[in-house]
C-alpha cells in the first residue's frame, strides 16, 4: 500500500514536469495549416446557398472548399495507401459519393453540408480497368477471360444490376492506347484505327476512325465522349456528338475542358502556361470553333509560379451583360490549386504540394542592419582611430533613433511583426527562423516560422529531378546548409542535390534560403554523386564544403579548389546500399588547399539477402552532450559511452518461424567495428529509430503481442572515464560499452518520432511522438529510460518500471489540433537553452515550440513588470527620504 502511494506520488511529480498548455496560450506560439493534397477529382457546386467545391485528392482525402476563399469547410480522410485511393467521385444533390480502393472497392456517400457519412458499401473486384457512373449506376469495367465485362451496381445501395455486359477484349490494348470518357471507350487498334464504343448499352454500334496516334487521353469530366490524341507533338481533339465522330485540331499545347453550355452547344475551355508566371486562357464553342472573347485572357503575376495547369472542373454561366462567364478550378503540376474566374483573375491559390514535404531545414535569419553595422565596426580592424570613432558615433545615433521610434510606436519591434522582408531579422532569442521545405512536386518553399506565411517559393522545373530513396521508394532531396546567416559579408547558402533530367549526372542547385534567390545556382556536375558529406571546417569564403562521392567512389570537393580555413581532421565516409546490402567505409584525405587526394576503402560489411537495411540512425550533427555521465544513488558516476562516430543500422529479414526479424547493429563508422547487436523477433513495420546522446530508441510493431513496442538502449563506459580529453575510434581500447536495455509498450501506433534538441544539451530530452490518432505526444525520456528500476526504486527520483507508457492528455502538445498523416517531425534548437522549435509536416503543417525543462531562462509571460518597477522605485525613494530625515534628526539632537 505504502509503495503504491509512493509510486503515485513519484509519477505525479514526474507528470508535473510535462508542460501542459493553458487555455489562453493556445495558438500563441503554434500554428496549424490544413491541406487536402493534390487534387485528383473535383466538382463545383454553384448552388447559391452552398457555393462549394468538392475535391478528392491523391492523399485519399475528400473535402469541401468554399468557392469564395478556398478554405476547407470539411475534410474526410480515407484509408492510407492504395486501399483508400479515390477512383471516382460523383456529386449528387445532397451527397458526394466516392469510390475508393483497389481490390475491395468501397462506395461512400458524404453529406455535402458537413461531410458526415451517409452510407457505405463495398464489393470485391479484380482486374478493374475503369469505373464510371451513368444514370445512378456504378459501372465497373473489368477484363476477364478475353472479355471486357461490365458489372453495374446501384450507386447508393450497392444492389447489383440485372445483367453483366460483355465485349470482346481484343481491342483493349493498354491504358496508353485506350481511354474512357463519358461511358465510351476509345482504343487504337493495331491497324491504326481509333475505335470508339459505348459501354453503357451492349448493342451500340462501334464507331471507327482512321487515325494514328501515340497516346490517347480522355478529357476529364466531359459530358460527351471527348479525347485528346497526341501524335508526334500534334494534339487533336476527338469527340463524339450525335453518334458521329468529330475531329478538331488544337493549336496550342494546353489543358482542355468541355462544359455543356446550352442543350446542343458546348464550350471548350483551354488553359496553358507558356511561362512560370503567366496563365493564358481561351474559350470557344466546341462545335463551330467560334472564339468567345470574354473567356480569352492572359495574366501575368511575378509572384505566380506554376507549371502545366490543368482544368479540374468548371462552371459557366451567362452574365447580365450577355457575356459568358466561367469559374474554373485549376490544378497544376506543382500541385497547387487555384480558382480562376474567366474573365477576371485568380481568386485564390492553395499550395497543396506542402502535403508532400520531403526535406525541411530551419534556417536562422540574418541580423538586422544596425547590429550588422556594430559587428562590422568591431570586425574592421585596419581603419584608423578617427574613422572608427565616427562610425561608432554614427551607429549609436542610429541605435538611438530606432529606440525612440520603437518607444514612440512609429515602427514595431522586429519580433512582433512578420512577413515583410525588412522584418526578416534575427530576434534576441533566435526564435524567428525560416522554414525551408522541399516538396516532392519540385517546389521549394520559404515559410515564416512564426505565422506560417509563405515568403517565397521556387519551382525546380527544368532544373532536375529528385533522387529516390531506395528503402521506401519515395523521392529524397539531400539538402545542405553550406553557409549560415552569421557571416555578414556573405549571404547564406543552401545546396540541394538533384538528378539531371537528361543524363545520369548530378545537378547542384544552390540558393539563398532567406529569399529563395538563386544566382547562377545550377551547377551541372560531370559525375553522379552517391553521397555528400559536409566537412567539419569552413573554407575561406565561410562555406562548409561538401565531399561528394561519385559512383566510381572517387571524392570531389564542392565548391572545388577553394582553400580551407584550417586543416580538416581525418574524414571517414560510410555508404550503405539497401539494394545489395553492402556497407562500405572510406577514408578521405582533404588538403588545406581544398584539394581531395583520394579515398581508400577501410572496411566493408555485407548483409546478405534477404536481410535488408531499412534504417540508419546517426546522431544529429548539431547535438551537444552537456553531462558526460550519470550520477548513481551512491554518488558515483556511470560515464556515458558517447561515440560520435557510432551509427545504428536496422536490418529486417524474413524468417520462417518468426515471420520477420529486426536486427539493430551499432557500428563504428570509422573502424567498421560492430559494437553491439540485438535481435527483435516478430517485429514489423512501422519501424522508427532515434539515436541521440548515448541512447537509442527503436519502435516496431510486435506481431506476437499485436502492439507497438519501443525498445530503449543506453550505452555506458563504466565507472571510469577512459579518456577525458579526446575521443578516437581507432587505436583506443576495445572494451565494449555496457548496454542497458528495456522495452516499453506504447498504447497506440506511431507515425513519426523525434527527440528534442537544445543548443547546449543541458535541458533534459523529451521524445515527440506523432500517433495515428492525430496526437503529438511529448514523452520525457525518463519514461523510456532503460534503467528504470524493476521493483523498489533504489535511486532517488527513479520511476519504477511500468511497461505501459503513459499518454496523459496534458502532454499532447497539439491539444485539439489533430495532425493526420504525419510524415515527419523536425526539431531544431533556438538560442534559448530551454526552448526547442518543432515543425511537424504531413497532410497538415504544425509548428510549435517546446520547453522540456520548462522555460527556466525566460521570465514567465504573466510576470508583473509593473509591480516590480513600482516596488523598486518606492523602495529607492523611501530609502533617500529616510536617509535625509535621519540626518536631520541627528543634527537636531546634536544641537540640543
Amino acid at each position: 500500500m505504502v509503495s503504491k502511494i509512493i509510486l503515485t506520488v513519484l509519477l505525479c511529480s514526474v507528470l508535473f514536469t510535462v508542460n501542459g498548455l493553458y487555455e489562453d496560450q493556445a495558438g500563441k506560439f503554434d500554428w496549424k495549416q490544413n491541406y487536402v493534397g493534390e487534387v485528383k477529382f473535383s466538382s463545383i457546386d454553384v448552388d447559391v446557398t452552398t457555393k462549394r467545391l468538392y475535391v478528392a485528392t491523391e492523399k485519399n482525402v475528400v473535402a469541401s472548399l468554399a468557392i469564395e476563399t478556398g478554405d476547407i469547410i470539411w475534410r474526410q480522410i480515407l484509408e492510407k495507401g492504395p486501399e483508400g485511393s479515390i477512383e471516382l467521385i460523383h456529386p449528387t444533390k445532397s451527397k458526394i459519393i466516392t469510390v475508393s480502393g483497389v481490390d475491395v472497392i468501397k462506395v461512400r456517400g458524404w453529406d455535402v453540408k458537413d461531410g458526415y457519412l451517409h452510407f457505405e458499401w463495398s464489393t470485391e473486384t479484380s482486374n478493374v480497368l475503369y469505373l464510371f457512373v451513368f444514370n445512378g449506376l456504378l459501372h465497373n469495367v473489368y477484363s476477364s477471360n478475353n472479355l471486357i465485362a461490365i458489372d453495374t451496381y446501384h450507386l447508393e445501395t450497392g444492389v447489383k444490376g440485372k445483367a453483366t455486359y460483355t465485349f470482346p477484349a481484343h481491342w483493349f490494348n493498354g491504358f496508353d492506347r485506350c481511354a474512357l470518357s463519358s461511358g465510351s471507350l476509345a482504343c487504337f487498334d493495331v491497324a491504326g484505327q481509333l475505335n470508339i464504343g459505348s459501354l453503357i448499352k451492349s448493342n451500340t454500334d462501334r464507331l471507327s476512325l482512321d487515325m494514328i496516334g501515340d497516346k490517347i487521353v480522355a478529357i476529364p469530366g466531359s459530358p460527351i465522349p471527348a479525347f485528346i490524341v497526341t501524335n508526334t507533338n500534334v494534339e487533336k481533339l476527338v469527340y463524339v456528338k450525335e453518334n458521329k465522330v468529330q475531329v478538331r485540331s488544337l493549336t496550342t499545347r494546353s489543358s482542355s475542358f468541355i462544359y455543356t453550355y446550352m442543350a446542343d452547344r458546348h464550350i471548350l475551355l483551354q488553359i496553358s502556361s507558356p511561362m512560370q508566371d503567366t496563365i493564358v486562357t481561351e474559350g470557344s464553342i466546341l462545335e463551330d470553333s467560334t472564339v468567345i472573347e470574354s473567356l480569352s485572357s492572359k495574366e501575368s503575376k511575378s509572384s505566380l509560379k506554376i507549371s502545366n495547369p490543368r482544368i479540374s472542373s468548371a462552371f459557366c454561366g451567362r452574365s447580365k451583360a450577355n457575356t459568358v462567364n466561367c469559374v474554373t478550378l485549376v490544378s497544376t503540376q506543382d500541385q497547387s490549386l487555384m480558382l480562376l474566374k474567366m474573365p477576371g483573375s485568380i481568386k485564390w491559390h492553395r499550395e497543396e504540394s506542402l502535403t508532400n514535404i520531403i526535406n525541411v531545414e530551419l534556417v536562422d535569419l540574418p541580423v538586422s542592419d544596425i547590429e550588422a553595422a556594430i559587428e562590422k565596426e568591431f570586425g574592421n580592424k585596419e581603419s584608423g582611430a578617427f574613422s572608427m570613432f565616427v562610425r561608432r558615433l554614427f551607429s549609436q545615433l542610429q541605435q538611438l533613433r530606432t529606440l525612440f521610434a520603437t518607444v514612440l510606436g512609429i515602427i514595431e519591434s522586429p519580433s512582433e511583426t512578420t512577413g515583410t522582408k525588412s522584418n526578416l531579422v534575427r530576434d534576441q532569442f533566435g526564435l524567428h527562423k525560416i522554414i525551408v521545405a522541399v516538396t516532392s512536386a519540385g517546389k521549394l518553399f520559404g515559410i515564416d516560422n512564426l505565422n506560417g506565411e509563405i515568403l517565397w517559393s521556387v519551382l525546380l522545373c527544368g532544373v532536375g529531378t529528385f533522387y529516390e530513396n531506395k528503402v521506401n521508394g519515395l523521392p529524397s532531396a539531400p539538402m545542405h546548409l553550406q553557409r549560415n546567416s552569421k557571416h555578414l559579408s556573405y549571404s547564406p547558402m543552401c545546396t540541394l542535390l538533384l538528378k539531371s533530367e537528361d543524363s545520369e549526372n548530378t545537378v547542384m542547385f544552390t540558393f539563398n534560403p532567406i529569399n529563395g534567390e538563386s544566382k547562377n545556382g545550377v551547377t551541372q556536375l560531370p559525375y553522379r554523386v552517391v553521397q555528400a558529406v559536409p566537412l567539419p571546417v569552413l573554407n575561406i569564403e565561410s562555406v562548409r564544403s561538401l565531399i561528394l562521392f561519385d559512383s566510381t567512389n572517387s571524392p570531389h570537393l564542392y565548391p572545388a579548389n577553394t582553400p580551407l580555413s584550417s586543416k580538416p581532421p581525418p574524414m571517414y565516409i560510410y555508404i550503405a546500399n539497401p539494394t545489395n546490402g553492402l556497407l562500405q567505409g572510406f577514408t578521405v584525405d582533404v588538403l588545406i588547399s581544398g584539394k581531395v587526394i583520394s579515398a581508400k576503402e577501410v572496411w566493408k560489411t555485407q548483409f546478405n539477402k534477404p536481410t535488408q537495411i531499412i534504417a540508419i540512425g546517426s546522431r544529429d550533427a548539431m547535438e551537444h552532450v552537456h553531462s558526460q555521465g550519470r550520477v548513481l544513488s551512491d554518488r558515483s558516476v556511470l560515464y556515458k559511452y558517447i561515440n560520435p562516430n557510432m551509427v545504428a543500422i536496422l536490418t529486417l529479414a524474413p524468417d520462417t518461424t518468426h515471420k520477420s526479424v529486426l536486427t539493430l547493429h551499432l557500428l563504428d563508422a570509422v573502424s567498421g567495428i560492430i559494437i553491439y547487436s540485438v535481435v527483435h523477433k516478430r517485429a514489423s513495420h512501422p519501424i522508427h529509430l532515434i539515436h541521440s546522446e548515448n541512447w537509442l530508441l527503436c519502435s516496431y510493431y510486435n506481431d506476437k503481442t499485436r502492439r507497438t513496442e519501443i525498445a530503449s538502449y543506453e550505452l555506458y563506459d563504466g565507472n571510469q572515464l577512459s579518456n577525458s580529453s579526446d575521443f578516437s575510434s581507432v587505436g583506443g581500447s576495445l572494451i565494449p560499452p555496457i548496454v542497458e536495455k528495456q522495452a516499453y509498450i506504447l498504447p497506440g501506433f506511431l507515425q513519426a518520432m523525434k527527440p528534442t534538441i537544445t543548443e547546449k544539451g543541458i535541458t533534459s530530452k523529451h521524445i515527440l511522438m506523432a500517433t495515428t490518432t492525430g496526437h503529438l505526444l511529448e514523452v520525457p525520456w525518463a519514461f523510456l529510460d532503460p534503467r528504470r528500476p524493476l521493483g523498489e526504486p533504489k535511486e532517488e527520483g527513479a520511476i519504477p518500471y511500468i511497461p505501459e507508457l503513459p499518454m496523459p492528455s496534458e502532454s499532447m502538445i497539439n491539444y485539439n489540433k489533430s495532425l493526420m498523416r504525419v510524415d515527419g517531425i523536425y526539431t531544431t534548437p533556438s538560442s534559448l537553452e530551454s526552448t526547442c522549435l518543432v515543425f511537424v509536416y504531413g497532410l497538415d503543417l504544425f509548428y510549435t515550440r517546446v520547453a522540456p525543462s520548462k522555460t527556466f531562462d525566460v521570465l514567465k509571460e504573466d510576470f508583473d513588470y509593473l509591480v516590480i518597477i513600482i516596488v523598486t522605485t518606492i523602495l529607492l525613494i523611501s530609502a533617500y527620504v529616510t536617509k535625509n530625515l535621519a540626518s536631520q534628526k541627528a543634527l537636531k539632537q546634536a544641537w540640543k
Partner: protein, 171 residues
C-alpha cells in the same frame, strides 16, 4: 621602672632614655604599626593573582575542547537532512572555530607567561577539532565535493579525433 621598661607599652613614651641609650630605631608615629606596612602579605597576594590569570587563560584555551561534547550533541540532534536549520547549525559550527582561529592573537594578547605558548596551542587544537567535527558533519550530510559525481559538470565533451558521415547511397 624596670617593669615599665620591660613592659614597654604601646602608648607610652619613654623620655628617660639616655643619649647613649639612643636606640637605633626611631619611634614610629602614633597609630603607626610596622606590621601594617609589612611586605610579606603583599608578596603572597601577588602570587595568588598570577595563579588566577593562568587558571583563567587555561579556561580560555580549553574552551573549544569543552564545546566538543556540546557540538556533538547538536550535530546528533540536527540530523542529516538538508534543510535550513541543520545548514545554519553546520554553518555556525564551521564559522565559529575559523573565526576564533583568526582572532587567536587578539584573544591571547593580554595573556603572558611561561604557559602562553602551550595555551595557544591547546586553543588552536581545540578549534581544529571543532572544524574537523563540522567537516565530518558536512561529509555525513553530503555537502563535501568528495565524489566523482560532484566534479561531473566540469568534464568537457571530448574532442573528436576523426569525423565521419554518410548514409544511404543516393540513387
Amino acid at each position: 621602672m624596670t617593669s615599665a621598661k620591660s613592659k614597654n607599652f604601646k602608648w607610652s613614651l619613654d623620655f628617660t632614655r639616655s643619649k647613649h641609650e639612643k636606640s637605633t630605631d626611631n619611634v614610629s608615629p602614633p597609630g603607626y604599626s610596622q606590621l601594617a606596612g609589612q611586605n610579606g602579605t603583599e608578596l603572597s597576594k601577588d602570587s595568588e593573582s598570577s595563579r588566577l590569570i593562568i587558571k583563567k587563560s587555561w579556561d580560555l584555551a580549553l574552551g573549544p575542547l569543552k564545546q566538543v561534547p556540546m557540538n556533538l550533541f547538536i550535530m546528533y540532534m540536527a540530523g542529516n537532512s538538508i534543510s535550513i536549520f541543520p545548514i545554519m547549525m553546520v554553518g555556525m559550527l564551521i564559522v565559529r572555530p575559523v573565526k576564533a582561529l583568526f582572532t587567536l592573537q587578539t584573544t591571547f594578547k593580554t595573556i603572558e607567561g611561561t604557559q602562553a605558548w602551550g595555551q595557544k596551542f591547546i586553543f588552536f587544537i581545540g578549534n581544529c577539532v571543532n572544524i574537523v567535527l563540522a567537516l565530518y558533519k558536512c561529509q555525513s550530510m553530503g555537502l563535501l565535493p568528495t565524489h566523482a559525481s560532484d566534479w561531473l559538470a566540469f568534464i568537457n565533451q571530448p574532442t573528436r579525433m576523426e569525423y565521419s558521415g554518410g548514409g544511404f547511397i543516393l540513387s
